[in-house]
Symmetry: C2
Subunit: 582 residues, 2 copies
């Protein structure tokens, strides 16, 4: 076994080609074992074993510097740079994150979990090198899917302008998470089909030098090509054709399903985790139902169709009513605005963490123009994704402070569907719906009329204490109300605010009559959020207000229970803090 002998990337350099190939088999074995037991990014990592070996064979990390786009393909890099135990031994699996992480290793330069950033970050490393008079190689590794994001294009454009050493590895596995979407992918195919010789060449058109490696999983070919570009005095693209999921038949055959996965059975390929229908399915079913009678409906994804429930089968079923714009959240929002302007009914669905890419488009392309497009924000929650790069904490401050947007917070499946229906029927506002992270089926019925904006709803009429329990934290509010009754004999008022984007001044004023404390509960960061608007409203009055939510900080792979306790978000803490104010 060669992997035993590899403590650092330098240990690679004395191996023969045969030994490097054996090493790649060993690495692939461990990758598959860990992925099947632990979950993670499967296809991208299986396809990038040989290129990583070749990169570390040719270059001298960390003085030469690698930047891995979105880090979905960085596991072999971690194995070769002192972190192999985290892939070999189950009790050490969680010692490393799923992304590059400078706190783990001097070979990682950035914490990266969003796509399309590698070339820009690498440009920065290169520029600092140049002004300081240093000489190392800067290497950006970017997948074909990630190329569709605007930031990648901006980076390529500037890399050419900077004009000094930068090696951009385009890892072309002919897939994004799902199929690639966009005109540029025809050119990538043309380049592959012509062994890199097609005269019309996207990368050359960007002012970059170019070479092609037809078998991007062949270590000998890769080493040859990389040696040719090493220490190159200008930016050069090395376009390598790799096989996503390489070495594991189910992953090679079903590339989308095996992009990322929960633990699975290696023999059958079957996932060990099963899910009931969730909000993604409710969204897809809603759309599929609408397009039966309304040809103007269009569902939009930015390269993550599964979060809106659109499996390959449903995409086929939806036909032209489904559009994948690529990893292009900026475009998705502007596109939706344009569709709404011309009488269509666009529904864009996106993760909380990724809508961050589109603040300006939400503001300028959508909100200023006040077009009635509908956006569904998924996984906006403190208890959603726990990787620091994928937190769903910030969408409330991001979206709710933009004028004209109506940001709605449903509390259960039934209310979600009612809000979707209203957003479909109305033509007056850009509407964003914050889809809860956990499915609650309340059995309640909800009115589909949200035309009177910022009208909160009182669900339990009480006194002394009023609880404004927003969206996904509504059930927490119910439990707090129950505990106040049970432990303190207080009948608290329970309010479902429904609207994140404004205050119901009439109701807030009314509460003054027989309440002395108002608390707000929101499933997100406090700073710039919903609760602060309530605090501001009552600032000139005797009403005491407490805002519950998360404090402003980046946290990584946190324990949700501990995190909630640290933020005073458990029921006993909320009750105790509240009672103190009476």
């Amino acid at each position: 076994m060669y992997l035993e002998k590899i403590s650092t990337n330098n240990d690679l350099k004395s191996l023969s080609t045969d030994e490097l190939n054996s090493l790649s088999d060993e690495i692939r074995h461990y990758l598959l074992k860990k992925l099947s037991e632990h979950g993670g990014h499967i296809g991208p990592n299986l396809g990038f074993v040989e290129p990583t070996i070749a990169l570390h064979y040719v270059f001298n990390s960390p003085s030469d510097k690698f930047v891995f786009d979105v880090s979905h393909q960085s596991y072999t890099h971690k194995i070769l740079t002192g972190r192999k135990e985290a892939f070999m031994f189950p009790d050490k699996y969680d010692d490393v994150s799923g992304y590059t992480e400078p706190s783990e290793s001097a070979h990682d330069f950035f914490t990266i979990g969003h796509t399309s950033t590698s070339v820009s970050l690498a440009c920065g490393l290169a520029k600092a090198r140049d002004v300081k008079g240093d000489k190392e190689n800067i290497i950006a590794v970017i997948g074909d899917g990630s190329l569709s994001g605007g930031e990648a294009f901006e980076g390529l454009n500037n890399a050419a302008e900077l004009g000094t050493n930068m090696i951009i590895i385009v890892n072309d596995n002919q897939m994004s998470i799902a199929e690639n979407a966009g005109g540029m992918y025809r050119n990538l195919k043309e380049l592959r089909d012509s062994n890199g010789n097609a005269p019309c060449n996207f990368f050359k058109a960007m002012g970059l030098d170019y070479r092609y490696v037809a078998d991007g999983n062949n270590i000998t070919d890769l080493i040859k090509a990389l040696n040719e570009v090493k220490d190159c005095a200008h930016p050069v693209v090395v376009h390598i054709n790799t096989l996503k999921g390489k070495g594991y038949a189910p992953a090679e055959a079903h590339k989308e399903a095996y992009h990322w996965g929960f633990p699975f059975d290696i023999a059958t390929g079957e996932s060990k985790v099963k899910f009931d229908d969730d909000y993604s399915d409710f969204f897809a079913n809603f759309i599929l139902d609408k397009i039966k009678t309304d040809p103007a409906v269009v569902a939009i994804t930015s390269a993550t169709p599964i979060i809106i429930g659109f499996t390959p089968e449903l995409r086929k079923l939806a036909g032209k009513h489904f559009v994948d714009v690529g990893i292009a959240e900026e475009h998705a929002v502007a596109f939706a605005s344009g569709i709404a302007k011309n009488g269509g009914k666009p529904f864009y669905g996106v993760y909380s963490t990724f809508i961050q890419r589109a603040y300006d488009q939400l503001s300028q392309d959508l909100a200023i123009n006040n077009n009635p497009a509908v956006i569904n924000v998924f996984m906006g929650s403190l208890a959603g994704m726990t990787d620091v790069t994928h937190l769903g904490f910030f969408d409330i401050p991001l979206i709710s402070n933009i004028p004209n947007i109506v940001y709605l917070a449903p509390t259960c499946k039934e209310e979600y569907l009612a809000m979707l229906e209203w957003s479909y029927l109305q033509n007056s506002h850009p509407v964003v719906i914050r889809v809860p992270s956990n499915v609650v089926i309340s059995g309640k019925t909800f009115d589909t009329d949200y035309n009177i904006l910022n009208k909160y709803q009182i669900d339990r009429n009480g006194s002394k204490i009023a609880i404004l329990a927003l969206g996904g934290f509504y059930q927490l509010g119910e439990t707090v109300a129950d505990a106040l009754k049970e432990n303190h004999g207080i009948d608290a008022t329970l309010i479902n605010p429904r609207f994140i984007t404004g205050t119901d001044n009439e109701m807030l004023e009314m509460l003054k009559a027989n309440h002395s404390v108002v608390i707000t509960l929101e499933d997100g960061v406090l700073d710039g959020g919903f609760g602060e608007k309530i605090s501001r409203y009552y600032g000139n009055s005797d009403m005491k207000v407490l805002n519950f939510g998360a404090k402003k900080e980046f946290v990584d792979r946190f324990d949700v229970n501990k995190f909630f306790a640290d933020n005073h978000l458990t029921v006993p803490q909320i009750v105790a803090d509240t009672i103190q104010l009476l």
Copy 2:
């Protein structure tokens, strides 16, 4: 005179080529007259007279739909679509905005003032057309400069994928606001030099059909080309080579200076408005001074070098220490983060309204990685730019709620320079400085140590009322304090918070001893802003808090005095509101 006979664009269609040429002379005459008397976008509009005439001659607006990128070139379109009086008669100059505006005319589909959005918005119009089964032409007009923004690339990529009728006019005047920056511009030159025949073609690489018009100011050539693409069943780029500033010698010769201008003397070309040194100059001087001794310093602009004081002369002087990344705010932030990571000292300067493009990069590429890059946000103010697309109202909620970022608010030139110096010296935080919109020279001296975060500064020790006067509103706070003394005999405490990103809990706690009212003054929107953090802090106490700032709304070309009065931001209003709470 032909312009007299043009009430709507349809009146064009009966004119001969000679008559169209005469019309273009007449339009150019009025453009120059209005621009010299009123100010506005000079070069882009002078260069786009003939193309606009040809577009309206060939297509049938508004059933065929034009989307003008950034609308810097939309004046002739306005003239031809019923709004000519606003260009001919001085008393009507302000009847139209400087941008396309649906409330003015059915020929305008979007309010557009940020670049690189036209293709995405047009894709939306086209998609709605397609699902509804309509047949009109959709035409996006985009300048070569605007192509450098990532959203434009995402739009082109998706346009090709949609695959139906869309005509993309690339108005290539070989300039952004300043020179173009980026590798793709070499390809545009190759295309111009080869009369559109170079085999390597950026637009074809994006999967788009393509044709070239060598003289983009020749109406006959334009009409011929446009007729050939009209009703085309797939997306096609018409690349036209135009002359920025055409017809006015100073604008042709000095393209950057005449991109946008205040009123000027037509005979000499000299601006009628003169400015003293401002924060842009302070920034540039600071950088130029630093690079004398520190080669690691890099100044960065995203295509607006003037806002950071970098005239063409200073850019030459700064050499490799100045980088224009193109209209690419996303890249600029990631680039700065990368420079800082590799030991450089990046200073990125950007308008408040344009940093909106880079929320995700501020969060992911910069803040999560905690790299000590420095960003200067200019024109973040309620009294800055008054076009709805260029408001500087929102940067506080945008930036201050991101963890790890230190957002500083200087109150005068001296404090700005002290903060710049600290941001240069420190290596612990990403720092953003909110540069005030009005120059104040206080004569005061300031410590350059901001290492203890969120430490506010008491400038006047008083009682009863404390005024937290942030950044550009510090002087307003001084005046309010003076008025409280003069009219009510109250010695208010005056505090310079300095930090936007956190609360000085020790000081806020201390204020409870002898104050019953705290007011906050901030030069931005209230929602998600600084004041709400103070309201939240005091929510559980008896302290009364009032937040002064702007309410959340989009306003366009507003009268600043009236706007301040509407938002209770005049001194008598603030004093009256505050006194009421005692």
